[in-house]
Amino acid sequence: MRKQKLPLIAALSVVAGSLILSGCSNPTAAPSPSDTASGGTLTVSSANFTESEIIGNLYAEALKDAGFTVETKFNIGTREAYIPALSDGSIDVIPDYTGNLLLFLDKNADVSSPDSILSALPAALATKKLAMLTAASAEDKDAVVVTRATAEKWNLKTIEDLVPHNDEVIMAGPPEFKERAVGLPGLEKNYGFAPVKFEPISDGGGPATVKALLDGKVTAANIFTTSTEIPANDLVVLEDPKNNFPAQQVVPVAAEGKLDDKAVAAIDAISAKLSTEELIKLNGQVSGDAKVEPKQAAITWLTEQGLLGK
């Protein structure tokens, strides 16, 4: 019995294996129907996480709609990989985040306010022969987050409002949050906020961290501002008026002179409409229960915003 089944199982696993393999290979370079229209070929890329891939898809679909032939090379890794790729022309445009991009290019840059970052970025990018387009208002940055109940009980609006409760606040965050300059040391320096206890949870502000917050095992948590858990659980992001956490606005980055006016206009139109709330919604469609493909979520969003077929 068992012997007879073996070839079948073997065959099935081969099929399954090849399905997985083919699923992995990106169906890129499919020539778009609008090939014949104006414009050249542009390669849109993204970093190796979902949000970046969603924004990359927004750029790709808008550029296709504007008449460009678009190739996509998503998930190519971290800045160490994609900044050189932009410089050498193997990719043309990629979404990035203002604060971390500037710190990557210049470790000692002034990231004390969103404006200081935006004004320093073009020069820092120029050293790599790169240029930025208009940054979106959407921001994916670290934040101190509490439950609605805690915020109302203590009347919290900013991180500073937590200071009188230093003795009772237990804070959760990834282990590095305890040591990094923008983590607990920065919060103490800027606001005098020093929680009585820190609970390290290594899931990057993910579900385990949110669960600890909702269970009341911790009072505050370090969660990213574009996390879908924030609206889903009615969590409150405490304001950071002293910019302890550097601004991380979504910004399209391209090789100098690679994009013509038409391409720039197509991408700038996205940045103009992309707010943190909209980005959370997009993340929710892709990472949430609906599990929409990033490309499909991008097309739906662009259509809703009236950015396609202009």
Partner: protein
């Protein structure tokens, strides 16, 4: 990296307080002890029953193989999402990996007792309970301790996952070090876990040897 690790060991401050090496070592041993003790309480009676009666042997083998295949970190993450942070999720994940070796040791030890010895015990009027306690278990002791040894080794090596959530133990060095790209600290954790596992395994090996009657080869 090696130098960073040695520097970490050399610094006196790293040996003191609740985040010091002795404290982390103590936490690690405490989690491991709890997990192995709980697994023994669960697995021991089942192993004796199956070994003595032979009932459900097939189920035992497949069930413990399934347990062996479960990824501990995955189980723990799932339990954290169900129960929240705390000691229970990592402990439950560790208990699950400790059960198969203990169960296998007890079952195999009891089942491998020479049937003639058991028959002889029955012939002189021993009841099942006495046969188990006075004949089978003493003879099974080397294999039972062997199973326990395997369980302890696995649990000590895996208890690092407790630090994935908010707990301590030697995994704290590994998770904190990784998060800060401080590989010297990661190495501190890895070396301590390895050393702890080797020392415990050596001690248990001596214990197993001590209780094994020289005239009787261990049946495997």
């Amino acid at each position: 990296m090696i130098n960073e690790m040695l520097a970490y060991f050399a610094q006196g401050a790293n040996w003191a307080g609740e985040a010091g090496i002795p404290a982390r070592l103590g936490e690690h041993l405490w989690y491991s002890f709890l997990a192995v003790a709980a697994a023994a309480v669960l697995a021991f009676p089942v192993g004796v029953f199956i070994g003595h009666t032979g009932v459900g042997r097939v189920y035992l083998v497949s069930a413990s193989n399934v347990l062996r295949a479960l990824p501990s970190l995955g189980i723990m993450t799932l339990l954290v999402l169900l129960m929240g942070i705390g000691l229970l999720p990592p402990l439950a994940a560790l208990v699950l990996i400790a059960i198969p070796p203990i169960l296998a040791g007890v079952y195999a030890g009891v089942a491998n007792v020479d049937p003639e010895v058991v028959d002889a015990a029955r012939a002189i009027g021993m009841k099942d309970s006495r046969i188990i306690l006075q004949v089978e278990l003493p003879l099974a002791l080397p294999l039972i301790l062997g199973g326990l040894r395997g369980a302890i080794l696995q649990v000590v090596a895996t208890a690092t996952i407790a630090a994935y959530v908010n707990l301590g133990g030697l995994g704290r060095y590994i998770f904190d070090g990784l998060a800060l790209y401080d590989y010297g600290q990661v190495l501190v954790g890895a070396v301590l876990v390895t050393a702890l596992a080797l020392v415990l395994d050596g001690l248990l090996a001596l214990l197993v040897k001590a209780v094994s009657p020289a005239r009787r080869a261990i049946a495997r």
